[in-house]
Amino acid sequence: MGNLMEVRNIETYYGPTMAIRGASFDVPQGEIVTILGANGAGKTTILKTISGIMDPQKGSVSYQGREIQKMDPDRVVGLGISLVPEGRELFPFLSVRDNLKVGAYTRRDHAAVASDIERIFEYFPSLRERAGRPAGMLSGGEQQMVAIGRALMARPKMILLDEPSLGLSPKLVKEIFEIIVRINRENGTTIVLVEQNANVALQVAHRGYILELGRIVMADTGAALLQKDDVREFYLGIKDQGVRGVRRWKKRKTWR
């Protein structure tokens, strides 16, 4: 299968600060692609650039052969790209059900919207009981579920997930990631996953990119990245012990 999206040499600025310094990567159709990086590497900025919240100064984002880098976010959603923003960003005073309905704002088929809400409740059974509650009163895990459900409501071809594990317990993180894999398998939805939790992300991802200071420094399949020394050392925190059990050297990243 070909690439659903190709990002080429994008440069994005926050005022005078250059956050993305010419990043390029491909997102193949139907795969889970993860972008890993430390704080401030530019992961969120990349998603904001793709979804149209920020415009890149240079470079292109082409989606299904169409350049979308200058489009406004409401048009990008219409093309089938949904963003699950960092920190959920729900509508706190709207009920869970209304939050999901707003997610389907771009759609006109009301009957299908109702059945899709049922499907979301099937993915996340704990939301069903909370359907009438204001979203701001839910726990963090449930809020993340609403955020993912809300993005699904637009029936996207591609979901951009910004740190879904943020602030969740390991058990909840596992649950959320199981759902993400399920969504990908059942609907063939392409997923771009931005994470700090490299271990979980690489286990589910078909392909991974490592972003550092606004540049892509490494690209490989998820399984291969899990085995790489540099990734193990700097992102997974697994250190090789020296012969005498004491490390006397400081390892440097090979891409520097």
């Binding site: 919240i53 409401d74 219409g78 509508f91 706190p92 709207l94 997610g103 704002y105 009163m137 637009a154």
Partner: protein, 290 residues
């Protein structure tokens, strides 16, 4: 007793008008975090436009009212699109100056177009009065109560059940997320301004038989602002109830308190509310998390 009831009904009616104007403040504030100090002037302009349609063009009262609402809604939407939108993201102070400036411009423009004299707007309810025991109810006051109740229900239904209403709420609660859901946030904001201007027009038309129309009609905005603050500035039922409270205080203090208290009583209550309960009587319980 009869006098008390009479005052109560009249205060309720005047309060409803304050409440409607306060509603306009709250709608715009909730949607765009802009305090529109020209809301009172929108009321004044709405009344003048209705006057033009009904008296000068000789249209039917209801047709004239509907046309005035549409005209003012378009005016409000354009005001947002052309002027107010440019100032979003600037310090709060500049939006205050801008809306005060818009108010001054509107008042002067109205004086140029319609002249400084006081006008009256004949309504279908002018002559009729009803008598319940010792209480004389004029149809004008009853029409105010009915209109406010109806409008409240319509707005509630609109925000609660309609797709666009929900989207407007969403846009006001989290603009970024609303944008990401494909809601055209800018158009929603203009829509809220249009809605608010239409509500202001209704308030102006209702006020016309009580207060007559002149370029100082916008002064009602000050009382309504107090009502909105008492109601919690951000709560729609709060705005209406705050308005009713101010209206009642206005009338009762005029009769039962010494001369001069009528003008300051509502502001004294405003100060007391702010000291005792700074979020207003109906302030949002949950705070917006950012």
């Amino acid at each position: 007793m009869a006098e008390f009831l009479q005052l109560f009904v009249n205060g309720l009616a005047v309060g409803c008008i304050y409440g409607l104007v306060a509603l306009g403040f709250v709608l715009i504030y909730k949607a765009g975090e802009v305090v529109n100090f020209a809301q009172g002037e929108l009321v004044m302009l709405g009344a003048f436009v209705a006057f033009t349609f009904v008296v000068q063009f000789g249209l039917n009262y209801w047709v004239g009212l509907a046309l005035a609402m549409v005209t003012m809604a378009i005016f409000g939407g354009l005001l947002d699109m052309i002027v107010v939108r440019r100032i979003i993201g600037q310090p709060q102070f500049s939006t205050v100056m801008l809306t005060i400036g818009i108010g001054v411009v509107m008042r002067s423009a109205a004086a140029m177009v319609w002249g400084p004299e006081t006008r009256s707007l004949p309504t279908p309810f002018d002559a009729a009065t009803f008598r319940f025991g010792g209480v004389v109810l004029s149809a004008v006051y009853l029409s105010i109560l009915a209109t406010t109740a109806l409008l409240g229900l319509i707005l509630f239904g609109f925000f609660r059940f309609s797709r666009v209403g929900t989207a407007m709420q969403a846009a006001s609660q989290n603009q970024l997320a609303a944008y990401c859901m494909g809601i055209p946030v800018k158009r929603m904001l203009s829509g809220v301004w249009a809605l608010s201007a239409a509500v202001a027009t209704i308030a102006g038309v209702l006020l016309a038989p009580i207060n007559l129309i002149d370029t100082n009609l916008g002064a009602v905005g000050l009382k309504a602002f107090a009502a909105a603050v008492i109601g919690g500035f951000g709560s729609i039922p709060g705005a209406v109830l705050g308005g009713i409270l101010i209206g009642l205080i206005d009338l009762f203090s005029g009769v039962y308190l010494p001369q001069g208290f009528k003008d300051i009583a509502s502001y004294i209550v405003l100060l007391v509310v702010l000291v005792v309960c700074p979020q207003g009587l109906f302030g949002a319980v949950g705070r917006k998390k950012v």
